[in-house]
């Protein structure tokens, strides 16, 4: 009996806490504009290779301009970071940028360990963290409940990690990516405002072959 009432009180507290989080995180004015962040990261990209996680990050990258060197994922949730690692390891002279969301990164959370032990220095992972699962009805994610992804990356041993809260920091991050001297992980706090979808090509074979051909490889 006693135990049940203890559990009920704790559950109520937890629900209240979640409601508070929800109220604060759903404030559309908190955090950076995701489209502006991505536009700045991809400015003067030159020979940068880009992989996007499914959902909003793909739309954000498409909104900044389609490119032969973009690989958009439409499924395989949790795989953006490992696609980026394979690309970085096979193209060591190019800089590789993974742009994904907090939910997508959480589904592939173990890849942080896999990537860190590879000690790749031409790979940067940028998480656009709005604290929510945007595609499925804006449910709070673990990041929205206090898990700081950049600290996890730091614990895994990424060379450089940071939580980004200003456009000045985004500009410095863009320069860091171009320097290609460290394995980077940036958690960018973006607001949860809904942006119009800008749909990238969905034909996986087309975007694969387009990407490879731009690097000088023939389609199969």
């Amino acid at each position: 009996m006693c135990r049940y009432s203890w559990a009920a009180t704790n559950w109520r507290k937890r629900v209240e806490q979640l409601d508070d989080n929800k109220a604060s995180m759903q404030d559309e004015n908190i955090g950076l504009d995701r489209r502006e962040v991505v536009r700045m990261l991809l400015k003067d990209r030159v020979d940068m290779l880009v992989v996007t996680g499914l959902g909003s990050p793909s739309y954000d990258v498409m909104a900044a301009g389609d490119h032969d060197n973009n690989y958009y994922l439409w499924a395989a949730m949790g795989s953006a970071s490992t696609v980026g690692l394979g690309l970085a390891n096979s193209q060591p002279d190019r800089k590789v940028l993974v742009i994904t969301g907090d939910g997508e990164m959480l589904m592939g959370i173990g890849s942080m360990a896999t990537i860190a032990v590879q000690k790749t220095t031409n790979l940067s992972i940028v998480v656009l963290d709005n604290g929510h699962y945007g595609e499925t009805g804006m449910q709070l994610s673990h990041a929205g409940q206090g898990i700081e992804l950049d600290k996890l990356a730091s614990a895994c041993g990424f060379d450089w990690t940071d939580s980004i809260r200003s456009m000045e920091q985004v500009k410095l991050l863009q320069q860091r990516i171009h320097h290609k001297e460290s394995l980077n992980f940036a958690n960018v706090k973006v607001n949860s405002a809904n942006k119009p979808r800008v749909i990238p090509p969905r034909d996986g074979v087309y975007i694969k072959n387009r990407f490879r051909m731009s690097l000088g490889f023939k389609p199969g």
Binding site: T82, S90, Q91, G108, T114
Partner: protein, 177 residues
């Protein structure tokens, strides 16, 4: 027998040289006793990127990325890891990324631990249903030609291919010591 007499090659000794001969540059794996010789060889060969994974589906993403960058790779895993890969196999299916998987089996023959059976009994059907072509090796002499053939169909035909290395090939797990 003289000390310098070469030991007869087992199928485990053949795996890594075959992968190298078909120009595989990346070996992604989740550690496994059946693959231990190939893993050791990959870890000590400077021309190979050897990538230890926390879970098998990371290897599907990794090898897709490597192919985007122009390289061939292979995934070494246990049958249980096939279960972890199911959803991510959409990547190979929708984009026709080449995939070469070498899958060591449990729960398919002489299995002491029945907890291995649900996945072991369904590994081949799961792969087939997800669009992965499979070849099964239960005899050591089949391993080399099956891997070579699967590699041709993966890399020259942009297909997802798996070689199943059966428990009869690997041998019964010894539980008494």
């Amino acid at each position: 027998m003289q000390d310098n007499h070469p030991l007869p090659e087992t199928w485990q000794d053949e795996v890594f040289p075959i992968l190298k001969s078909v120009n595989v540059k990346h070996i992604a794996y989740v550690p496994d006793a059946g693959h231990s010789k190939a893993i050791k060889a990959a870890n000590t060969d400077v021309s190979i990127k050897s990538v230890v994974l926390t879970t098998e589906e990371e290897g599907l993403g990794y090898l897709a990325g490597a192919w985007l960058g122009g390289d061939r790779g292979a995934l070494l895993l246990q049958y249980s890891g096939v279960g972890n890969c199911i959803n991510t196999l959409a990547l190979q299916s929708c984009a026709r990324f080449p995939l070469l998987m070498l899958v060591t089996m449990r729960g398919d023959w002489a299995e002491f631990n029945p907890w291995q059976n649900p996945m072991g009994q369904n590994t081949e059907e799961i792969l087939t249903r997800m669009g992965v072509m499979i070849w099964r090796a239960d005899k050591s002499e089949d391993v080399a030609p099956l891997i070579r053939g699967a590699a041709t169909m993966a890399f020259d035909g942009d297909s997802a291919c798996a070689v199943i290395l059966g428990q009869r090939l690997i041998g019964e797990k010894e539980w008494n010591n």
